[in-house]
Symmetry: C2
Subunit: 649 residues, 2 copies
Amino acid sequence: MPILRRRASVSDMTETTNAPTDIRETTPAASGSAADVARQLRVDIIRASDAAGSGHPSSSLSAADLMAVLYKSHLTHDFDNPSNDDNDRVVFSKGHASPLVYALLRAVGAISDEELLTYRKRGSRLEGHPTPHLPWVEVATGSLGQGLPIGVGLALTARHLDRLPYHTWVLCGDSEMTEGSMWEAFEHAAHAGLDNLTAIIDVNRLGQRGPTRHGWDLDAYSRRLEAFGWQALQVDGHDVKACDEAYRTAKATAGRPTAIIARTVKGRGVPSIENRDGHHGKPLEDADDAVAALGGVTHHRVEVAKPSGRGIAHRFSTSFEARSPRWDLGDKAATRAAYGEALAALGYERGDVVALDGEVSNSTKADIFAKAHPERFFECYIAEQQMVAAAVGMQSRGWRPFASSFAAFLTRAGDFIRMAPISHADICLTGSHAGTSIGPDGPSQMGLEDLAMFRAVLGSTVVYPSDANQAARLVRLLADRGGVCYMRTNRPATEVLTPPQEPVRLGGSRVLRQQRDDAVTVVAAGVTVHEAVSAADQLSEDGIGVRVIDCYSIKPIDVATLQDAARVTGTVITVEDHAAEGGLGDAVREALADSDEPPRVTSLAVRQLPASATGAEQLHAAGIDAAHITETVRDLLTASPSPVGSTAL
Amino acid sequence: MPILRRRASVSDMTETTNAPTDIRETTPAASGSAADVARQLRVDIIRASDAAGSGHPSSSLSAADLMAVLYKSHLTHDFDNPSNDDNDRVVFSKGHASPLVYALLRAVGAISDEELLTYRKRGSRLEGHPTPHLPWVEVATGSLGQGLPIGVGLALTARHLDRLPYHTWVLCGDSEMTEGSMWEAFEHAAHAGLDNLTAIIDVNRLGQRGPTRHGWDLDAYSRRLEAFGWQALQVDGHDVKACDEAYRTAKATAGRPTAIIARTVKGRGVPSIENRDGHHGKPLEDADDAVAALGGVTHHRVEVAKPSGRGIAHRFSTSFEARSPRWDLGDKAATRAAYGEALAALGYERGDVVALDGEVSNSTKADIFAKAHPERFFECYIAEQQMVAAAVGMQSRGWRPFASSFAAFLTRAGDFIRMAPISHADICLTGSHAGTSIGPDGPSQMGLEDLAMFRAVLGSTVVYPSDANQAARLVRLLADRGGVCYMRTNRPATEVLTPPQEPVRLGGSRVLRQQRDDAVTVVAAGVTVHEAVSAADQLSEDGIGVRVIDCYSIKPIDVATLQDAARVTGTVITVEDHAAEGGLGDAVREALADSDEPPRVTSLAVRQLPASATGAEQLHAAGIDAAHITETVRDLLTASPSPVGSTAL
């Protein structure tokens, strides 16, 4: 996915900045006390925001002392080699404190003063909220409540995958403590005994629009965190000795994660805005004065301790004994079962493949992987946000996570999925029990919006197999694919129509029925492929030729095959067990609309709220079964314009 | 939205069920002890699941005693008049315990034994998970972790809107305690002091695929809930006296909500499955034996206490002094500001309009409403799931909620939004700061997937105004619209192009530039309308006629105007500040693909991950500004086929 890997260069920034001397050449190693460093961080926070004309200096200033002490005395990280496996990981869950991130990077000598002042400018690596365009930034943050869950993923990786002693430090805002995802993370981390994880909670009392719920009631946070099984340490976040002691305690504590609950002052260091509402997300009005009052620009250098060990991340042993599963033509199997079988088989071949599930592994069939590779399976319970966040954390360390739940419930993690490409994440998500074909459980369990959600994710890949052989093959292809990958699987068993030896490819499709004089093309995917074949065979008996395309790759889509078919048949019908918007119909129209003579496209999709019924009754009620396809074909061939599939009010 | 209001009839079910006598005619009022009633509930749970051949009897059996005691001795509800304002509300957050819901409805005489046995069959109101097809079901559940947040919305409504003493009871599963949304709800409820809310937590120790994290460690739950400010009462959930006492205490407690943490046995009452893993979501193998062992079918009748008062829900006084805001042509204003102004004005006219926001009201401009109507504004802090859930709860009591956050962060509530139509909910959501036009904050803050998410919601309405007059008018139109309504607003001020007196309608559009010999149609929405106008004016100077359509109503869309324009110009270009999938381009193609001769459609959209830059730089980098529109028009008119907008790999 090269479009997602664009690493911005700052070389084109020089003309837009007042470039002082690059301090990396001239500054001696390790200079200044923690207080000196904190003062420098404040100055740089103010300068960067001032140069940008935007940003969140007040939210950065509150955490300057906390981070000065961490970097100076407790962090272990080789900034010359950010990919060192042994490096501690730092995640700014309060991503809007990006000026502090960049001020720290200058203090450790990773970026120049010149680059610091490119903050938020076009082409700069120093974005409004931190992203992995900078090699020292593990994952993107900026949507609050995501950094800590991702940090849990990193700590799980350290403990169970990499098997290395590095520590994960997460700076959290007090405002984000209201996000449910934080509590999914607190719960997961304590239950997993992640003493290699420390959350630093910057309690500066003020959110974007006013006071937080708990203000400076540090006990309110301690009570909650202790109840969740964390060690909670309260400190004055501007007392460097107290911070130092807290970090020491955190690292020395075994068996449970630690939260450092720090009372801080928003805007600390700039009296005109200290602890005052109305200064969120704004550069200072008098930046020069504030910088001068803090002692002006300094060039203290923080020498962060480098890892002493030469840790090499653990890799699981592989075996080529296991074969990828295959089914014979005419077998019946659910695509969700094929997912589980194929993933388990892949796990034997590839030691980097790991799986996560949201307490439904006996439905998604991730349990087949769990049984085969228990050391690489992560039960996330019913916490889909934490599940996706953990996957993002794991992939940032080079693992290849496959996470699964019902297609319907992956929408719970919509914001985490949206953020994944900003983290440059390569993850595979599988949503089972998609569509009305699940039958009697009813609409709460049906994924009817999942294709729309995943298609809109930047750089995503979306596949929807119609049989077990396709599903198994797609698992292997997605394992090598970049970006956010999504596979939609079905609950009921479907007949195997794809020969086991036939190639399946991303961007491919299968033509299942084809005659020279085809009058209509029916494009289907997943369960509706079987309905389309049945309709085509029925119509064939009446001498009506229907071309049937199994569009198992929805993004990318097989533009050439679709355009060829459309050229021959003119009329195209799409049939999907999904809402009418954002799914197969939209994808097919997109592929065809750039032709010289786009065909007419009629879409059969789920347009009314389903209730309970059997799977077959559901497909019939939604108007997406063989009977409706047959009827639609006949209508289109006899009447014009057709009343079917109109999307108007 | 009549399609969402389909109330299934059971009249067509009689041939599929073994219809016993309707007990409502023959049973005397109030019979049987709580234990007798619980036994009957168990029998009916087993019978209903057996008749359906699916369902979750084991998860229902664990809570039978708890609910028997509640309904018999503590609930206040007039089942003959479910719309009585004074009725207590009951929400089954563990919606899969639907057999228990229906067994209770038979016990109170609300449904017949005949209807009970229609469970999960096509046409039955007794769906796999409860929905408001039944008038005694407030809201749909079935996606775990949603019922309690909605219950918080109901309790807030009772306290602050209806101003009535009814109580909200929510039956929760222990498995769903891992969902972050539960903790958003616990936090909100305690902070709001909702002593009119009781959560009953059915700790049966077993989830779908195995044990829960905390098993029967009731203290683990108590510690967490007490830390969150709740009263936590531990009981044996099969001891009717203990349950009775706990309910009494809950109702008598002032100032904070109560959680009844009940130790229960999954499958209780059926020794062959009691407390055994592997029996989740399955009917019993020997239902007849189990029913016989429980004493067979009985006809005990629970007389639920009716409300003694004649409460009338509070309504806020209205005033017609305030006028809807309007802007003069050429004024500059942000659509988000127009949203806030218009909503505040509407609040004066309509006492049923309420607003909620996720701690960004000074950005979404909901703060204008908050200042005007502080009693009807709900600060939900950064907890978008709880915010949408509260809105769903409020609308179920007849209020008209408008909830807002950044468009990007509404994806956090994706699962709640998906479930809203299943609850038959009428809610308005507004997402501000949509698209790259926000500028330097970067992609984490940009809504680029929101149109895709909302278009795919069944029965939804999606609008995206380009100027303040449109935004203000659309607020008023959405207030009368059913289903899930979404308005997308922008951060930057845009020029007012819509005359204040010009009608704006759902399903409408505006033709901004039109000449007889237009060569191309450009369809835009929101910020890109202004780019399209600028491009058209530039091209006009070169003698190239471009028809510009402001497609402010994206669902429903103005099919007629789009098809007319396409007929004249042939070629169509769409331009949107959104991902290429699921948004304006897909909507326009959908509208045009059912024409007799669909036009060629080229889409300009955000196809690469944005970074930081100014708003104008962002539009340019994404290829959606006036310069790119101009270039695309020229390319399309001179070359064929065009290289622009290809959607292939």
